[in-house]
């Protein structure tokens, strides 16, 4: 059963300011992956990024996570300019739920989350609440390498919930989740945007992304080609 951690506040109005990229180009191993990307992520929104495999979607997420430095162009994430030391100060306000689970295989699901919580100063009770919210309280003592992909995915969502990020980045968020668990994506993104943060979800699944996002941009060959508001 999914239990709310606390009563969410009223939705924050969408406004500019979470992240902005202007003409950003990124090379990975000297190969251009992103070329002249202009993108704004507004507070209180879920931005969907759609594109074919290899179009540069995941690279775009890593730029927004401040993990990749643009080769050219400028970018700002949560007030920090990309490529400057200010990025390290805002990273703990960014959560990335990647395509590959970032769990330590020898640790239990609970240990995985508690390690990160202690590293970032999040209270243990918040982690336990998040595990309960995603329905993993009963499996919290199971080693990560003995859990299914779906359970690992839910653990990652619990970690994102506990971190209460200002910017949540989701790479193929529905992958590995069964129909019952897919509602968790809505729950987590809803929490973030109600708290005034923003979410960016990348996927190649157009239909699912349209149900999740307020606005969808398409990435084609490393360039943002089209932006479309999703009707409510």
């Amino acid at each position: 059963m999914l239990l709310p951690l606390h009563q969410p506040p009223a939705p924050a109005p969408r406004q500019a300011g979470v992240a902005r990229l202007d003409g950003v180009a990124v090379n990975v191993e000297r190969t251009p992956v992103l070329r002249g990307v202009d993108l704004t992520v507004l507070a209180g929104e879920v931005l969907g990024v759609i594109g074919a495999n290899g179009s540069g979607k995941s690279t775009l997420l890593r730029v927004l996570a401040t993990l990749l430095v643009p080769a050219s162009g400028t970018g700002h994430v949560l007030g920090a300019t990309l490529g400057t030391t200010a990025c390290s100060a805002v990273r703990s306000r960014v959560a990335l739920v990647g395509h590959t689970p970032a769990l330590y295989p020898h640790l239990t699901l609970a240990e995985n989350l508690h390690v990160v919580a202690r590293l970032t100063g999040v209270a243990a009770a918040t982690v336990d609440g998040a595990l309960e919210t995603v329905g993993l309280a009963g499996a919290a003592g199971r080693r990560a390498d003995r859990c299914s992909q779906g359970m690992q995915r839910r653990a990652e969502l619990a970690r994102a919930l506990a971190a209460a990020p200002s910017l949540l980045l989701l790479d193929e968020p529905h992958a590995g989740l069964d129909a019952d668990s897919r509602g968790l994506i809505d729950l987590v993104t809803d929490r973030v945007r109600r708290a005034g943060g923003a979410c960016v979800a990348v996927s190649h699944d157009r239909d699912r992304l349209h149900t999740l996002a307020d606005r969808v941009v398409e990435v084609v060959d490393g360039q943002v080609r089209a932006t479309r508001e999703v009707p409510a």
Binding site: A43, R62, A65, L67, S88, A89, R91, S92, R93, V94, A95, L96, G98, T100, P101, A102, L103, Y104, H106, L107, E111, V115, V116, R118, L119, T120, G121, V122, R143, A164, P165, S166, A195, G196, G197
Partner: protein
Amino acid sequence: MTAPAAAPTPLRQCLELARKDLRAEARAGEALLVTAPFGAVALLLVPLAVGTDTPLLRELGPGLFWVVVLLFGVLVTLRASAVDGPAQLELLRLCGITATTRLFGRALANAALLLGVQVLLAPVAVVLYDPDLSGWPWLLPAMLLVAVGLGVLGALADAVAQGLAERTTLGPLLVAPLAVPLLLGATQVLAAARYDRGPWPWLLLMATAVLVVTLAAALCAAHLEEAR
């Protein structure tokens, strides 16, 4: 938006990372259940090869102990359970953990495990080689310095070779030459104590080597991450 939580100090983060590594090692058992027994076997094979020349074995014993600690210690520092994949590295970076904190967290865990390996192998060496143990208390600082020095060296080599397919080949090649002052010092500490020569110069050599390696690691860690 949510106000950022107060981040723990780098020292606390270091300790937490080391704790995480040690917990993973306790489950994987690579260092103490796999590598240390191999080290004991290596110590056992030498007397079989040399024969029952007790005075010779007694003379060789301390040196062989440190050679085995060095060689198998490198494997401990490069254990698979301590490998962070790209996803884990990204996670730690997003937690605001600097490359320097990560490196010293790993070094701390390495040092604890290396001390454990030495404690396991030392009785084996004593039983097999029957060395002259006069001045044995000097071994304690030597063991500590070897554990810390090799731990930092291993963490540094791991940071250099991270993500490379040749990690397990490159690691020992990077560590072994830099560990020579530690090997030299550790071997001579007991010999000096036995012959009533002060072991201080050798301990000082080891401490200097540890300090240099630690400073190099502190200065290089961030640049190694940028270069990747």
